[in-house]
Symmetry: C2
Subunit: 454 residues, 2 copies
């Protein structure tokens, strides 16, 4: 299951490790962020539950092994030993790391994967993909939610990315504070609240009775309540009609035009028609910058629908977590810290973890903070951010996928509430370097580790 | 199968359509690009084969229907009729459109989906997702391949996006001209050539014998030939060692540092060691801009490995195809063209297709061109770009997934060879408006269609 969702080089290396007799040496890999990605002052870590389920379930089927045997460029290493290894492959290692939903205000290690050199290597690609994808979406969604200042944000980006990735994107956005998604599969699988009413095509389909007929028919179909889309032909006229479409109408959605100008007009029309209870949903290619500008201008939107911006994160489209070997046994069985020196990509060796100290003002609001990246064996000041996720290849949590999603969402909510003011900024200045109010400190013990030189 | 990979509003609308008795009216939807996305002068259309297979296979399972029945916000429309509709749901319609691998130099319709209003509506989200994802990747990959001027480009972005989307990203990059991928599943499923040798972790794992030991061991494991990664500690020293690691070494890969400066140094070292046959692979966060700059500077790279840039397309992260109802029967059974008027998002009604005329110079090179968007019933001058893909819900092609991928690649290669010079530009000026050398003309018959007013 999912065993071939990996890079070929993991299998080439496996072949070499087996041949050299070092495949079963004990190793520690870290999945980490070197620094904050551009245009981000904080990150929301997501994808951990899916990553752990993958580790528990990953297997090579006979079909997959046959395919690998037929690959010319793997022929040199596809020995009986390698085939047997693949057949009996399980991830049997241990995983420590941040909780899903954790908020990071700088770089640092996210997960620590301990096991044999070979097993930790094979799983690299999938782990990185899941964490990079979900954390990118969650980190963007959290900014959008912050910009909306308490107004609900719905994610509906399913059509903007590969359909297979839409449910996990919806899950990540929900963890970060969106109230729900348009993606039905995300409801089915992860329990994310799903909503959605109608598209322009519904309006256009009413060739016999036009907008009035469409509104009436839709309100009749959903007597318990629905929203109407008012901008298919003329937003003002659409709103006038929606205001008279009866008590089933709970909201109107506007998806084009000058939303700053239209918002107050729509509000006035609804209020004048005695429908102050009808909410206004804005949804035209929204992102945190546009939402911020609309709300700064006093535009009376109650809810935002956001697609592309959340699932693709266009201002910071690559999350950029990496997965590095940080410790491996030598031939005597002694654990050796290792790190590469490639310019701009140097890393710290040693099995690490993270701790946090927040500085609060007299009202209890966080004003600054510091994360400590230290050896797992150290005990620095601060709150330990690392927990044990998996032992002997088994997840330690008994939560199902829906529960894990809900738990991550609660945890993220709690953590986001402690975000210092300097990190809360979502306007344009977030492209300046990460705030000085937040520091990430690498412990002396980590710095002192001898870097192995090749 | 994949039935819930859709937006909730498709199901809300289905409920209303059924209630109104218009679900089975004949409708035509178009999946199209309003214009070129930013930073693009041409597009490579991909995802069509997957889209058609989805249409052939989409079904609602009993579990999925149960889930929908439990949804409070669908309760108003979850009648026995709706449940029966979902149980027996198949896509039984007809699809016309561009060939997979087609090159577009402006906007226009990509696919035309004909069937009942309800069936064409339900499939919107998945179709858009697949085409948006694969066409985005293919369009970016084609630029990177162009920048490499005949040098092979390998895609290895699997770790940068949701693992479930990696095989289709690899497929799209291959269609657009990459020679292969790192993603093993893309080889297994789509027949994309897969390659990959080793990571920095392999080098670091050699704590007992260092870089020399790692190189020796890897070359011994792959006597038929491999590449070595030379930048783990010091690129120059790594290259000196690789040059002496024996005949199995066919290439060295450099993944960090100043590649423009390092390239000639690496080449000199290899040549001086009598290894002029050893190729140099550059792979440090490459994209078409960096490749272009390296080759302009004369840096002697033979092959490029590109990850993030191809699969996430950071300079143009959203493809932006839309799916619009363009024609629907009225109560008398007369097909009516429809189009919305939303500002900035207005569309043309009517069932359309595309034709193309290229202007060539005396050497047969395309210098300009024009696409015609006309009613399907028109016969404008030029080559017809539309083909019939599916009839009565069955694909007309008998190609399997591997064959379809290969066919799309050949077709794209042929089409890319005809790209006019003005579209071939990959340097910074591509952010200027789309070239005047290429026009997209909307036929008079399309323009004359009465737009239905609500």
């Amino acid at each position: 299951m999912f065993s071939l969702y990996t890079d070929r080089y993991q299998l080439s290396m496996l072949g070499a490790y087996l041949r050299e007799g070092i495949a079963s040496r004990r190793a520690v890999f870290e999945l980490s962020m070197r620094k904050l990605p551009k245009a981000r002052r904080f990150l929301v870590v997501a994808g951990i539950d899916r990553a752990l389920r993958y580790l528990e379930g990953v297997r090579f089927t006979e079909d997959e092994i046959s395919y690998l045997r037929e690959s010319a460029s793997l022929r040199d290493v596809m020995t009986d030993e390698m085939i047997e290894y693949l057949r009996s492959f399980r991830f049997r290692g241990r995983v420590f790391g941040l909780r899903e939903g954790e908020v990071l205000m700088g770089g640092g290690p996210i997960l620590r994967v301990e096991g044999t050199l070979a097993e930790c290597q094979i799983v690299e690609t999938f782990l990185l993909g899941v964490i990079n994808h979900e954390s990118k979406v969650a980190s963007k969604a959290a900014r959008v939610v912050l910009a909306a200042r308490g107004r609900p944000v719905m994610e509906f980006g399913a059509r903007r990315l590969d359909p297979l990735s839409a449910p996990s994107a919806a899950r990540a956005a929900y963890i970060a504070g969106c109230i729900g998604t348009s993606c039905e599969e995300a409801g089915f699988r992860y329990g994310v609240p799903v909503s959605g009413t109608c598209a322009h095509s519904y309006m256009l389909a009413h060739v016999d009775d036009g907008e009035d007929g469409a509104f009436r028919a839709f309100a009749e179909a959903f007597p318990s309540g629905t929203s109407l889309l008012v901008d298919t032909w003329d937003t003002i006229r659409g709103t006038l009609r929606a205001a008279k479409a009866g008590p089933a109408v709970k909201a109107v959605r506007v998806d084009s035009g000058d939303l700053a100008r239209l918002g107050p007009q729509i509000r006035s029309i609804l209020d004048a028609a005695g429908r102050s209870d009808v909410k206004i949903i804005g949804s035209d290619d929204m992102d945190e910058y546009k939402i911020n500008a609309l709300l700064e201008a006093g535009a009376p939107y109650d809810t935002f629908g956001v697609g592309t911006a959340i699932v693709l994160s266009p201002d910071s489209p690559s999350f950029g977590a990496v997965y590095k070997l940080v410790e491996v046994d030598d031939r005597r069985g002694v654990a050796m810290p290792v790190a590469k020196r490639a310019p701009g990509k140097a890393s710290y060796g040693g099995a690490k973890a993270m701790w946090r100290k927040m500085t609060k003002d007299k009202d209890g609001n966080a004003v600054a903070g510091e994360d400590f990246v230290a050896l797992a064996s150290e005990k620095p000041d601060g709150v330990a951010l690392y927990v044990e996720h998996m032992r002997d290849g088994k997840r330690l949590s008994t939560a199902n996928e829906k529960e894990a999603t809900r738990d991550a969402r609660s945890y993220a909510k709690e953590q986001l509430a402690t975000l210092p003011a300097a990190q809360r900024v979502v306007a344009l200045e977030e492209t300046t370097p990460a705030s000085e109010q937040y520091r990430v400190t690498i412990s002396d013990a980590v710095r002192r580790l001898e870097k192995l030189d090749g």
